[in-house]
């Protein structure tokens, strides 16, 4: 890239060739997915077009508009063709929001939190308990009867933020004065504790219904149903909910991205990065260490709490199995892969790891099963003899482990590292 082009890039001007290229790629991949709704590769190509959007030389406004078009228009439309895509996109969105939350704690403030999923669980159980008949078990009649109405969902979205942030502060208070590796182990233990509690708090008072989990959980209200009806787009709730959840997740992701962006350029974000780089120097410069660490813990936790509330409503059923140590490490692998402290990195990492787990591993599993059932022979070995316990879909840990080790050795800054420098000179980070 010539010096002139670099300068042009920094001013954020649009290259017409890039605009045409991105539009063409999005259009072609979208059309291809539409034509062949079952194809995994084509859907991956469509997802890659968003990455292209990030790299293309476009003005920030235009890039945002294109991203909005792709995520708000094209993807939901493809979702009506094949509902599975919408489900994948919603899951990706949930993990993007989680990764962005953990990114604040690990990426910006440099505190290794290995029990991040605990905050997610707090949010999820909060809505699951009050948004189902479960709450009748321990606080019947006095507060009216449960489940609460669908409208309460939005109240609990806010409550989830508050309660998770409070939990983060409570956990952080005793341990944030200590060295980083202690924090890692204590948060790891905390994650386990939350899971054990969720598993066992069905007695003496039945709070969580134990390993059986809670179901059915109230879904958010379809307040826009009549409006759609009036526009002539009436649809059954069953058809609306996947789209609805997709847009809710998208909304949360947008809010989280904006919040993170504002935070990291604020004095708070700069204090976090100072702590990450050198604690002693940060203290010497007057950064209130414990308060800033607590704040980062609370911020990260609050994102997870909000996503947890949404997750409970979306899944309709939750049990402690959704909140294991592996989930925490999965989210960690996402931000390590993308790049610690980088918003586009967290988005990319979350997308890549989720797609890998949901589509690629499962795809390999199905494919292997087909080969096994067909009795295909490879290199003189009949695949029908392959042990049945060999389920590629179950090797998420191996995937996470390989990602963590390889990234740490070869590219610790991640695939899309944080761009340093004054905010104005940085690339628009809203891809």
């Amino acid at each position: 890239m010539s010096a002139e082009a670099t300068e042009e890039h920094q001013r954020g001007t649009t290259s017409r060739a890039h605009l045409v290229g991105v539009l063409a790629f999005v259009a072609i991949t979208a059309a291809a997915v539409y034509a062949a709704p079952g194809s995994l590769m084509l859907f991956l190509a469509f997802q890659a077009s968003l990455l292209l959007l990030y790299y293309a030389r476009l003005s920030p406004g235009l890039r945002t508009a294109l991203a909005a078009l792709a995520l708000g228009g094209v993807l939901p439309f493809l979702g009506t063709v094949n509902g599975y895509y919408l489900e994948v996109a919603t899951q990706v969105g949930i993990f993007v929001a989680l990764a962005l939350g953990l990114n604040i704690v690990v990426g910006l403030a440099g505190l290794l939190d290995l029990g991040y999923v605990a905050f997610f669980a707090v949010g999820a159980y909060l809505w699951a308990i009050f948004g189902s008949r479960q709450a009748n078990e321990f606080m019947a009649s006095a507060f009216g009867s449960f489940p609460l109405g669908p409208g309460w969902f939005f109240v609990f979205l806010g409550l989830g933020v508050a309660v998770a942030a409070g939990t983060g502060v409570l956990l952080g208070l005793p341990v944030l004065r200590l060295r980083g590796d202690y924090l890692a182990i204590v948060t790891l233990g905390f994650g386990e504790v939350i899971r054990v509690l969720a598993n066992n708090l069905d007695k003496p008072v039945n709070l969580t219904n134990g390993p059986k989990g809670i179901t059915p959980i109230q879904r958010p209200p379809l307040f826009f149903g009549p409006w759609l009806e009036a526009l002539g787009w009436g649809a059954t709730p069953a058809a609306l909910y996947p789209l609805y959840f997709y847009f809710l997740v998208l909304g949360i992701v947008v809010v989280v991205v904006l919040a993170t962006q504002r935070l990291q350029d604020s004095p708070i974000g700069r204090a976090w990065e100072a702590i990450r780089e050198d604690e002693a120097a940060a203290v010497a410069m007057g950064v209130p260490l414990v308060r800033m660490k607590l704040l980062s813990f609370a911020c990260g936790a609050s994102f997870a709490g909000a996503v947890g509330v949404l997750f409970a409503a979306k899944q309709f059923f939750i049990n402690p199995e959704s909140f294991t140590f592996m989930e925490s490490i999965g989210v960690l692998a996402m931000i390590i892969l993308g790049g610690m402290g980088s918003i586009p990195g967290a988005v990319l990492g979350a997308t890549a790891v989720t797609v890998l787990n949901l589509q690629v591993l499962k795809g390999v599993s199905l494919w292997l099963n087909e080969l096994r059932n067909a009795g295909t022979t490879i290199f003189g070995y009949n695949l029908a003899n392959l042990p049945t316990q060999l389920e590629p879909a179950k090797y998420e840990r191996m995937v996470f482990g390989v990602i963590l080790v390889l990234m740490m050795i070869f590219r610790p800054q991640g695939i899309l590292p944080r761009q340093r420098g004054a905010p104005a000179a940085r690339r628009g980070a809203d891809a």
Partner: protein
């Protein structure tokens, strides 16, 4: 260096049951060699990286190994939950008089643990290599100026750490019979708790910490349900261990025997 102790316990549980001592040695050697290999691949390139980097790499390795064992076991036996072969002699019980009796295998486990602890203490405190290990732990650049091959010593430390993990795995297998690739996770967490409880970087401290933690856990598993009228049972013992860790970290981060050693980074 502590990381060497992480989560390799399960590996030592793989070898076939031959003789107790041989089994223990095999488990220790296998786990120790594995630890050295892991150190070479996943830690040595990160020797001078910021502190979080090797920690994350360690988690990655432990996750990878768990599923690697699962993969191997699935291919080989089509099952990854394994039952330890039982030895009739070990399942017999020693009568202590009254209603009390004790299975022989628990005696074996206790004797094994004591023997290993004595051996480790002697190795670290008496041998030349042990002295070098302590020197490297104290001050790596100075140790290297004194002619100590730091890389080799760190590899030896990983071998010892891995071997201890392997020995613990074998003893665990003897005591509890049923193992799977993910068995080592909670014991690894508790090993850290015990080390912090006793005082990190302090061998007698780690033993005292382990003993105290173990006794507290066993007592809570038996009596918690009695004390709370059945409301909270043995399943809360992990929470107890973790609460102890937090309380210790708040009130006495140096641990029980922590005075002996200075804070190391």
């Amino acid at each position: 260096m502590l990381l060497a102790l992480k989560a390799w316990g399960h590996l030592g549980t793989l070898p076939v049951f031959l003789l107790l001592a041989l089994l223990l040695l095999c488990g220790m050697a296998a786990a120790g060699l594995l630890a050295v290999g892991v150190e070479r691949v996943a830690y040595r390139p990160l020797r001078n990286a910021p502190r979080l980097v090797p920690l994350i790499s360690a988690i990655g390795v432990s996750f990878f190994l768990q599923d690697a064992v699962r993969f191997a076991e699935s291919l080989w036996r089509n099952a990854f939950y394994l039952t330890y072969p039982s030895l009739e002699a070990l399942d017999r019980r020693l009568r202590l008089g009254g209603a009390a009796d004790l299975p022989y295998k628990s005696l074996v486990v206790m004797a094994g643990a004591v023997g290993i602890m004595l051996g480790l203490t002697a190795f670290v405190n008496r041998s030349r290599v042990g002295k070098a290990i302590r020197a490297v732990a104290e001050d790596r650049p100075t140790a290297s100026l004194m002619g100590i091959d730091v890389n080799r010593i760190i590899a030896v430390t990983f071998f010892v750490g891995g071997a201890m993990g392997g020995a613990a795995g074998v003893l665990f297998g003897i005591q509890y019979s049923l193992i799977n690739p993910y068995t080592g996770f909670i014991p690894g967490l508790k090993a850290f708790t015990a080390a912090v409880l006793g005082g990190i970087g302090n061998l007698p401290g780690a033993m005292v910490g382990g003993l105290v933690l173990g006794l507290l856990e066993a007592a809570s598993a038996s009596y918690l349900s009695l004390l709370t009228g059945g409301a909270f049972g043995a399943e809360y013992k992990d929470i107890l261990a973790f609460s102890i860790l937090i309380v210790i970290l708040i009130f006495r981060p140096r641990g029980i025997l922590g005075e002996v050693v200075a804070e190391k980074v």
